[in-house]
Amino acid sequence: MTLPLEGIKVLDFSEHGFVPSSAAALGDMGADVVKLERLSGDAGRSIIASGMVATKDGYDYLFELFNRNKRGLGLDVEAPAGREVFERAVKWADVYITNQLPRVRRKLRTEPADLLAINPKLVYAKGHGQGQRGPGAEMGGFDGVSYWARGGVAHVLTEPTFPSLVQQRPGLGDIPSGMFLAGGICAGLVHVMRTGKGVVVDTSLLGAAAWTLGPDLSYSSMTGEQLPTRPEAERSPLTRPYKTADGRWVSLMMIDEARYWAQGLRALGLDDLVDAYPDPASRQTASSKAAVHARINEVIGGLQTDEVVKRLTAHDCIYSVFATPVEVLDDEAVRDNGYLMEHPRDDVRIAAAPVQFDDEALTIRRPGPALGEHSREVLAELGYSKDEIGTLVTDGVVTAV
């Protein structure tokens, strides 16, 4: 199978998580991605995510996650010789990706107009915190603030009974936003192919949050109120979380109550309730909901999680245990569908971009590059001779390993 983006050349001049992860997704889909780094390297190489230094044998999992399937080029783009290399790389590329702030782009002459003048068929993609317009356009952003806090996600996930705000996990906003940008780039490539004209693509973390909270925001814009959260007690007992005997949470999610009423209750041995509430209207009163909830709670509360899973599965119920990462790693469906790619380091698995083509799982063709790992190789492809490359490295314009 040919991957859909095979033959596409991507120049990824971005740092941290959000925007590099979009280039990683394009790499997963077959593109040839060159990660361009300034001489001091991607700031993400040294960042400590939420205080976690989860490295093993000097292997940084976050850097790897955001930079697999790329080649590395280390370059001083401000040196005149470096600028020339950069412009050649822009000509070479189909796609240019950046998270630089406007003031950096102005200083480095990497604005869309600058690069589209060099390569008029370029897809020029920017990822940023608060959008490309308005006073926030000049400000930096991280997902913890621009997506999680400012975008409203933390607020709507936190229930009044919680002791504190729900905390974001590392990269939880960056990673979907990276996929959004990657999708926009793919659409941009179709546009270039059909019209022959370059295109500028923009995604921001705040816009990503707005999309993710679409129902909440659309509702608020229509009514001027916050979408009420239905109180626990008013929810159908078939769509509530229950705690098992061993302290785990199981979420029933049989939204189509009419269809699942009998099989859901029978799965838990509550056949008498099927007969007690024969017609849908009889299940809608507060007292019937409370009664059924109490009975389910009693059953699930008395069973080990394994047993609950066994019974619900046997009756084709829609449900899930609130899984831990260890469980997700071991999940049969995750394994069977190849959602985690085997890494060249045999004890590491890396989440694949969440799209598959022609029934085949995506793969890691190369691990995240060391700073400048492929500088010589990439420069040779840009037409530089061995001597010229040697001079660029000696002059400190290019880093190479």
Partner: protein, 402 residues
């Protein structure tokens, strides 16, 4: 995507949201709905609220279906299936959330579609993937993505009475975008090589992508899940929530803490902390983080959120207020960037806002068109297929279309 035609046989939000993104990008998206029942989402009640709002518009129907045309068509009948295939012959993309078993029963497999249109891109959204013992199990984002995918488990504060509930369609909307992205990649490949693709996205795979830092670190470090810190003991006190005097929260995100510490002391009006040996260096702040967080809480609790917005407006580091949906709507950046776009009700009497998809091209937010009523464009679409009114009436009488 102008000129791209998409045939959508899908219900609820996950897969329809992909159609909405493609419509935002300019594609002509034809939504196929059952002639009598329509998309079941049309009757869905969310958060104790059904079709409520301006002009009786269902916001949960509207958000993932704007910009489409709707045809009411029963493809389980022979005539209906023939019509569906006729439509498919004219389309570039077939988009569905039917499970593999249902697609086989309806004879709408990849092979069936390719028999009438060898170049059609075939895109599926599923709960648990198209392989493995659960390939034919239905899923919803609340279960397949939020719970089983580990998202809720990771967001669950052990001190909270239960895990957070996901917001309506929280996983569906992100998953729909992933499908649209895959379709765009496949369209590019088809333009270039002539080969069509099958595109698959599952809610479980989406979760794996979304919590990938947790998954990868867990895989790397073995049995233990990644450490979680409570807000009392966050390893970098400059990356934490702080409560204000009016019971709101400010999120600081000063990742480069050593560089930003002097500025943080200035913002908090605590110049004496700058060189205080307890807090002056990263290791010292980590060592004394419980004490520092407790001190910083006292500082933040002295002023209102409005006062903190003013003070932090000069900060060198990145920060934000934890905003409500209404504040997100009113946010100067939301407005300046057109993240909410107005549409008109069918009668033209009212306007309301929908959320734009999170990608803009050529620095211009797209215009949106409201979601269709069930079967609103049936006649128009059949006329485009070359049928005449007599044939259309006949199909209506037979209940194949509406």
């Amino acid at each position: 995507m102008q000129g791209v035609k998409v045939l959508e046989v899908a219900a609820w939000t996950f897969v329809p949201a992909a159609g909405a993104v493609l419509a935002d990008w300019g594609a002509d998206v034809i939504k196929v709905e059952h002639p009598e029942t329509g998309d079941p989402q049309r009757g869905l009640s969310v958060g104790a609220v059904g079709a409520r709002g301006v002009g009786g518009v269902s916001f949960i129907m509207e958000q993932p279906n704007r910009g489409k045309r709707s045809i009411g068509l029963d493809f389980t009948s022979d005539d209906g299936r023939a019509l569906l295939l006729k439509l498919a012959a004219e389309c570039d993309v077939f988009l569905t959330n039917l499970l593999p078993g249902s697609l086989e029963r309806a004879r709408l497999t990849v092979e069936d579609l390719r028999a009438v249109n060898p170049k059609i891109i075939y895109a599926r959204g599923t709960g648990y993937g198209v392989r493995g013992p659960e390939a034919n199990m239905g899923g919803f984002d609340g279960a397949s993505y939020f719970s089983r995918g580990g998202v809720a488990g990771m967001l669950h504060d052990p001190a909270a009475p239960w895990p957070p509930m996901q917001r309506p369609a929280f996983g569906d909307i992100v998953g729909g975008f992933a499908i649209a992205s895959g379709i765009a990649a496949a369209l590019y490949k088809r333009e270039k090589t002539g080969e069509p693709s099958v595109v698959d996205v599952s809610l479980l795979g989406l979760a794996a992508w979304q919590i990938s830092p947790d998954l990868v670190a867990t895989g790397l470090l073995g049995e233990a899940n990644l450490p979680r810190f409570t807000t009392d003991e966050m390893p970098n006190p400059l990356v934490n929530y702080y409560r204000t005097s009016d019971d709101r929260y400010v999120q600081l995100m000063f990742l480069q803490a050593d560089k930003l510490w002097p500025d943080a002391c200035r913002l908090m009006d605590k110049p004496e902390w700058k060189d205080d040996p307890r807090f002056a260096t990263g290791p010292a702040r980590f060592e004394n983080r419980v004490e520092l967080i407790s001190e910083m809480r006292k500082v933040f609790e002295q002023k209102t959120v409005a006062e903190w917005r003013a003070i932090l407006s000069t900060a060198q580091g990145v920060w934000a207020v934890v905003q409500t949906p209404q504040e997100v709507l009113d946010d100067v950046q939301t407005v300046a960037n057109g993240y909410m776009r107005p549409v008109r009700t069918l009668d033209g009497e009212h306007t309301y806002d929908l959320v734009m998809n999170p990608v803009q091209f050529d620095e211009t937010p797209p215009d949106l068109v409201r979601a269709p009523d069930a079967g609103q464009h049936t006649d128009e679409l059949l006329l485009e297929l070359g049928m005449d009114y007599d044939e259309i009436v006949e199909l209506k009488v037979a209940g194949v279309i509406n």
